[in-house]
């Protein structure tokens, strides 16, 4: 690892921490931005008993000056204490930890589908100009425009109601049952992103295919399969990995729609439910979680780039 790369990565980590700090500040001050006083906002729709008022004042340190409130709250959050869910009367951290495995399963499942289908379609469309390319382009153009709630609607009506191949709702128990329950949600979640990845893969492959080194490899008699895998796909990997990385956060947010549509009790439906019943501590925790996931995914992409393209590790980080 060269020094410039190290400095670059250090900068990214510092940037990540700064963005998280700003985000946490926004998420915290939202309590004060809301109309009405913070206690009634946090208890909205429920009678404010003196005990509840005292508990919330203690949790959000509401008797302190504003900036102190933020730093004390931040200290609690860093210690893993996000407060108590008003709705479930449960520690928010525990609540999220309880629901996270289902959503993680769903996102990983969808990510596998996106990668396999997106790469396959993109490669196919780059290597077979003409009819195949046109068909794939038409499909990706359409699938990008199908939002997950519509995909969920159509998939439910065809595969769950009409054909009865898949369950209507729920997340299932154990690995195979869960895989079966989450197949339709994962497809609904993956559809748009797979289309997007196919398009990026196609254009990255076409860029590489038109390069001289590909021509040289072919004229040297390197077998076509090897040219495609080692010379074209390998070089096209940079933009592909970048796009996959940026998808993580979008997918996490999209789980709110998909999990609601399929009644899957994960983090996404928890977010929707918490907004509906105004359970704000949970909304705060989940917002921070999604932003953190976005930042970490981007950092991982940055770490992977020099492995994909060693020129970056040689200090040539100027694009």
């Amino acid at each position: 690892m060269s020094r410039s790369l190290l400095r670059f990565l250090l900068g990214r980590v510092v940037g990540l921490v700064l963005v998280l700090l700003v985000t946490s500040f926004v998420v915290f001050s939202a309590v004060h931005l809301a109309p009405g006083d913070p206690v009634s906002f946090l208890m909205r729709g429920r009678p404010v008993t003196p005990e509840a008022r005292a508990a919330l004042t203690a949790q959000y340190h509401l008797d302190e000056p504003f900036l102190n409130q933020y730093f004390m709250w931040l200290g609690d959050v860093l210690g893993g204490d996000f407060g108590r869910s008003v709705q479930f009367r449960q520690d928010v951290g525990d609540l999220v930890a309880q629901k996270l495995p289902i959503t993680a399963f769903l996102v990983v499942y969808a990510m596998v589908l996106v990668t396999v289908v997106g790469l396959a379609l993109g490669i196919l469309s780059a290597l077979r100009p003409g009819l195949v390319d046109k068909l794939v382009l038409a499909w990706t153009g359409t699938s990008i425009a199908i939002p997950s709630y519509i995909a969920a609607t159509v998939l439910t009506s065809v595969f769950a109601v009409k054909l009865g191949w898949f369950p209507l709702y729920g997340a299932g128990e154990g690995f195979t049952d869960r895989l079966w329950h989450l197949t339709l949600p994962a497809v609904a979640l993956a559809l748009t992103f797979a289309g997007l990845l196919a398009r990026v893969t196609r254009s990255a492959m076409l860029d590489e295919l038109s390069r001289e080194h590909v021509e040289v490899a072919r004229s040297r008699g390197v077998p076509e399969g090897q040219v495609i895998v080692r010379h074209v796909l390998r070089n096209a990997l940079g933009p592909i990995v970048t796009v996959v990385g940026t998808m993580v956060a979008g997918m996490l947010v999209a789980t709110s729609i998909v999990e609601t549509a399929f009644s899957v009790k994960g983090v996404g439906s928890l977010l929707v439910n918490s907004v509906t019943v105004k359970d704000f501590p949970v909304v705060q925790a989940l917002t921070l979680l999604v932003v953190a996931a976005f930042l970490v995914a981007n950092l991982v992409v940055d770490l992977l780039q020099p492995l994909i393209d060693p020129r970056l590790a040689l200090g040539g980080d100027e694009k």
């Binding site: 963005v19 199908i146 519509i150 947010v253």
Partner: protein, 299 residues
């Protein structure tokens, strides 16, 4: 999400006087984009007309409940059938086009203007102004539009206003980053320098030449953004956060259609779903067509 493959081509050279095309020329260039582009433009124009004239075109009151005629199939009385409360789906679809298009229009209009201002100022001034604006745009990228909208709903309550404002903010950096990139390239072109030598102020060069020259590229991106905004706002209404239930709105209709779906009645959900997909596809085709057109003119 909006990281589309729009080519970052700079706008064209300054327009010569007399080079403006008249209306017949415009129609000819429209047709030259291919039948798909023309079809998409026609679909969008039709959508706008249907939304504007919904009160004249709708055969029924979109909110007239008739429980005796619940979930009727399509027929001569109700072309697209009725929903669970016996409301005419076609009428609701027509009225739904209004909230469906107005929300994204506000989002795209404001984010395009803000993005152009931020991007041009960052590119033109450079230095610390550029760093400050670029860093704040990077910061906004960490918030997916949908998440910011959901957060705003949690704080300010349901309805179209909070999500629309949130999405104006969330869409701005996508425009701003694009504008900054192309405005930087444009700034280094000789014609800008020649205006400077002639004693033009930076403000007039930007307003009268630089911004008009980058506008086609920005509009192409904005058309694509319009589709995304439509999709996401309808999604928020689907979740019950945006447009509220009795109002006819495509997102609300898809959500209300989930019940009939379980009884194997598809039209109440499928009709608005199809409308959303058609609108988003049309905006995508128009956006990509415009981007192609700019790219071709550059060559």
């Amino acid at each position: 999400m909006t990281a589309s493959a729009t080519p970052l081509v700079p706008g064209g050279a300054p327009r010569l006087p007399g080079a403006r095309r008249g209306a017949p020329g415009r129609i000819r260039t429209l047709a030259a984009q291919g039948p798909l582009f023309t079809a998409a433009v026609v679909v969008l124009a039709l959508l706008v007309l249907l939304a504007v004239f919904a009160p004249l075109l709708a055969p029924y009151d979109p909110n007239a409940i008739n429980l005796k005629n619940s979930l009727a199939g399509s027929g001569p009385d109700h072309w697209l059938g009725t929903d669970q409360s016996g409301r005419d789906i076609l009428s609701r679809l027509l009225y739904g086009a209004r909230t469906g298009l107005l929300g994204p229009l506000a989002v795209v209009g404001v984010s395009t203007v803000l993005g152009i201002v931020m991007g041009v100022v960052a590119a033109w001034r450079g230095g610390w102004v550029d760093s400050l604006l670029s860093r704040s745009m990077d910061l906004l990228f960490a918030f997916p539009a949908m998440l910011l909208a959901i957060l705003c709903v949690a704080v300010f309550g349901t309805g179209l206003t909070a999500p629309v404002i949130a999405m104006m903010v969330a869409y701005t950096p996508y425009v701003g980053r694009l504008v900054r990139a192309i405005a930087r390239q444009e700034k280094s072109r000789p014609y800008i320098e020649s205006y400077r030598v002639q004693g033009w102020s930076g403000w007039s060069i930007c307003v009268r030449h630089l911004i008009p020259n980058i506008t086609p590229t920005v509009l192409a991106q904005s058309a694509i953004n319009f589709g995304y905004a439509l999709m996401e706002l309808a999604g928020l209404s689907f979740l019950g956060f945006g447009v509220q239930a009795p109002t006819a709105d495509w997102g609300v209709m898809v959500s209300e259609g989930q019940g009939p779906l379980l009884k194997d009645v598809m039209l109440p959900a499928l009709a608005p779903a199809t409308a959303i997909v058609i609108a988003v596809v049309a905006f995508g085709i128009v956006g990509e067509g415009l981007a192609d057109r700019v790219a071709k003119r550059e060559r």
